[in-house]
Symmetry: C2
Subunit: 233 residues, 2 copies
């Protein structure tokens, strides 16, 4: 009924442009996103695009916000605090894995809605866990910085930052360096090299989350209410 979307003469939409930009970014990384390549893809001139989006910075930011707005799933209010945090961490990881150019953008635009949402969700989960409000900022900050940092490093290790690199090649290069250190002088990394080659990113990410949550709980251990001796009654 409605005219087909591929009619080239239809008016240029800002959403269309952003969508095409994301496709270019996914296919060729940040270097692949140029106004001229976008114009070619959208059958128009590059000036037309720059009428809708003034800068390349604005284009990149629009692509980032659009991509991340769908990254975090709907709130599932049945889950335990720990599950909630683990789920959100995996969702960030998955988004960066699918769109590796996001990692640079995540550091660059920490005010964007998805990151505000991430802070909020982790804050609520930690509060439910019994973290006192005076320790909330530091605890959330640690988790968010770790999640973004680890996911970004995983994306880099998968070859996102080098043109033709594969995960095997990047991890292999690191592991080789580790193995080349002298084990007789007590080198420990040489013993970790094999694990680096075969580790599972998601599993390690979650293990790190658990370590941090253990640390937070250890510092603020409030006895469970039902186990709490009512000494003051």
């Amino acid at each position: 009924m409605t005219p087909p979307k591929e009619s080239r003469s239809a008016g240029l939409d800002r959403d269309q442009i952003v969508e095409a930009a994301i496709e270019l970014l996914d296919a060729h990384g940040e270097v692949g996103l140029t106004f001229r390549a976008l114009a070619l893809r959208l059958h128009t001139g590059h000036g037309a695009i720059q009428w809708h989006l003034e800068n390349k910075a604005e284009l990149l930011m629009a692509a980032t916000v659009a991509t991340l707005s769908n990254a975090l799933s709907a709130d599932e209010s049945g889950a335990s605090p720990r599950e909630t945090i683990r789920t959100n961490a995996v969702e960030v990881f998955t988004a960066i894995e699918a769109h590796p150019w996001l990692s640079t953008q995540l550091f660059a635009t920490p005010w964007q809605p998805a990151l505000v949402q991430l802070w909020e969700r982790i804050a609520r989960a930690l509060e439910e866990l019994g973290v006192p409000s005076g320790a909330l900022f530091t605890s959330v900050s640690t988790l968010v910085n770790y999640i973004i940092g680890a996911a970004s490093q995983d994306a880099a290790n998968a070859g996102a930052l080098l043109p033709g690199a594969t995960r095997e090649a990047v991890l292999g290069t690191i592991a080789d360096r580790w193995e080349r250190t002298d084990p007789r002088r007590g080198s420990l990394v040489s013993r970790l090299a094999e694990q680096l080659r075969v580790h599972d990113d998601r599993q390690e990410l979650l293990a790190g989350i658990d370590i941090i949550l253990d640390g937070i709980e250890a510092a603020h251990r409030v006895p469970h209410p039902d186990l709490h001796p009512r000494g003051d009654l």
Copy 2:
């Protein structure tokens, strides 16, 4: 006695080029490093530079390795494991603070000597702390990813990724967004905004390190030898 360094006709040294590159990067960020700007600074043609360093990628990597090779201080073998880890974290933070362009490079080149050294030092400290060898990889990985991630986010928050931004401006923008969320619907980030504005990066970094170390210790608590009841004697 030796000819003064500023004699323009002296042979071009690779180290000289890298040194000048670092100065350009510090002054104007990654966009400020161009072969032509380098040539101007070194009173030569850009072709001369490209004889010593083939690519811009090679130039950037050389600048990164040179900058980081001095970032980690000499091993101080008197310190406790916890102190060692904290010291190394602060050294990474300080290096990124002084050279914000490093953060992107750190993710891109995880095989470089300084990062191998960081892994090694943290691994040794954790081993001394009693972490079993089967848990070493995950524990070190968590700490390293957190350190690099947090330091990079701090650099970004300080305005490193945006041309004229200040730390106050960036943090203010985030805090504004946090405050704009509805506190009546239970928003927690709105209560954290003020802390975001005034927090100390180094202090928060170290607090995060402590949380992670607490978590690691909680998982592998080996009773201190002198406190260990000799049940099997």
